[in-house]
Amino acid sequence: MTADIRTRIHEIVAEQAMIDVADVTDASVPADLGVDSMGLVEAIFAIEEAFDIHVPFNANAPDARNFDYSTVGSIVAAVERLVAEQRG
């Protein structure tokens, strides 16, 4: 499951950034890949649709600890947690 989540999130970020998925790593910073604030909102929507989860994210309080998007790896970890919480 974890590998699947990682793969799918790498694909979502790559699609959002319009780059090759091979260029996305867990260490990648979304902003460095060209994902701006609106791109982030769109990527989070794609993640919610892909995993059928709700991601608590408010663009007005992006520093909130409830969804760490500082790197692609932190997004993977956050989604793993949300999937476990929300889909049991």
Binding site: A59, N60, A61
Partner: protein
């Protein structure tokens, strides 16, 4: 001799009150009308708050035939216009009718009508809709009904610039009267977007608050939608004076700019050019302005950019002016919001009361202006600005003077 433009009538319905006195009384109290939404399928929404017009009974105002044609936003426009025209004391016949029109702002138009009828055909599987769906939902319906109700036979149309719609409409009406294209214009905005589809769409942007609207506050959590209408009678000054009309304020300038940069992120330069342009057109200096009704949505993007733009345009005078966001009380009424906010400007000019920024908790260093936190303030204000900076990067700023 250059023509001057004055406001001789004002009307409103919004979550704070069903007329101007009730709305201004609520603003004086710093009372927020934001609360739980009471709409169909609210349990399927993530955002369940808004500044909704509650205890509203359309049947108390309109008959069956009218309701068949009037979407909620049209009803709001007609109710507010009735107050404004009664206050102005104008009737329109002959040459005056031909030289008077309506310019309204709206973003969603008859969105409740669309929502209900899409629900009926898609979710409900119905294959037949009411014959008046199109004339009820169209964005010029409210302006059209005002022209019919008051016999306004000059130029009439609707302006849609999202959250700046009514400022663009009022600015355009101002230019019509000032240029001599019209002698009287009924103008303002109306919006009724608090239906399931309307709120669901806004949820997607992730900019909506789930608790309340706290503009210019370090703990802000986003915007909150409202609904309603604000309608004004703009009249050429000599025309108003000749008939002894009570003049509420002068519209002295209206400037419009486009950021030409991003579909949702505001630009400081676009906002600055609009404020500077309104001042220049009104023949006002930054030191003349005692109050700004801010766009102040309570989003991080707006509040920081707007504060920086005001600081940059006003320089040292920024420390001497009051700026507040009344969206903290009546919500963000989208295409009607500038019109409802103009009431706060009239209150500052006429009554010497500056409406506060409600719900405020703690200072944001990036919004270091006098934002009139929580409590209204007595002040002598002779000139003010009303800001509107919309999605699409379309900005419209109005400059008003006391008369």
């Amino acid at each position: 001799m250059s023509r001057r433009v004055v406001i001789t009538g004002a009307g409103t319905i919004n979550a704070l009150g069903s007329d101007v006195p009730a709305t201004l009384a609520a603003m004086r109290e710093g009372r927020s009308a934001i609360g739980d939404l009471d709409i169909r399928d609210v349990d399927r929404l993530t955002i369940r708050i808004g500044a909704q017009v509650k205890d509203y009974d359309e049947g108390a105002h309109f008959n069956r035939q009218q309701i068949a044609l009037y979407d909620r936003y049209t009803q709001f426009a007609l109710l507010a216009a009735g107050q404004a025209l009664a206050q102005a004391g104008l009737t329109f016949q002959g040459e005056l009718a031909a030289r008077s029109g309506v310019i309204l702002g709206t973003s969603g138009g008859g969105l409740n009508t669309q929502d209900e009828n899409y629900r009926a055909v898609y979710e409900g599987g119905k294959n037949r809709v009411h014959p008046f769906v199109v004339p009820k939902l169209m964005n010029n319906a409210a302006a059209a009904h005002l022209s019919m109700e008051y016999n306004l036979k000059g130029p009439s149309f609707t302006v849609a610039t999202a959250c700046a719609s009514s400022n663009h409409a009022i600015g355009q009406a101002f230019h019509f009267v000032k240029s001599g294209m019209a002698d009287v214009m009924v103008t303002g905005g109306a919006e009724a977007m608090l239906c399931f589809g309307g709120v669901k769409a806004w949820e997607g942007l992730r900019v909506m608050s789930r608790d309340t609207c706290r503009p210019f506050c370090a703990t802000r959590s986003g915007m909150v939608q409202g609904e309603g209408a604000g309608i004004f009678v703009l009249e050429e000054y000599e025309h108003a004076r000749a008939r002894g009309a009570d003049i509420l304020a002068e519209v002295a300038g209206a400037a419009m700019t486009s950021d030409a940069s991003d579909i949702v992120m505001p630009s400081r330069q676009g906002a600055e050019r609009a404020m500077a342009g309104a001042l220049e057109q009104a023949g006002l200096n930054t030191g003349d302005i005692g109050y700004i009704n801010a766009h102040g949505t309570g989003t991080a993007a707006n509040d920081k950019i707007e504060s920086a733009a005001v600081a940059h345009v006003f320089g040292a005078d920024a420390d001497r002016l009051a700026i507040s966001s009344t969206k903290s009380m009546h919500g963000h009424c989208i295409g009607a919001t500038g019109a409802i906010e103009l009431l706060a400007c009239i209150m500052a000019l006429r009554d010497g009361v500056i409406a506060p920024t409600a719900n405020w908790q703690e200072p944001d260093p990036e919004c270091a202006l006098d934002i009139v936190p929580n409590v209204a303030r007595d002040a002598t204000v002779t000139a003010c600005l009303s800001n509107a900076f919309a999605f699409g990067g379309m900005n419209a700023v109005l400059a008003l003077k006391a008369v």
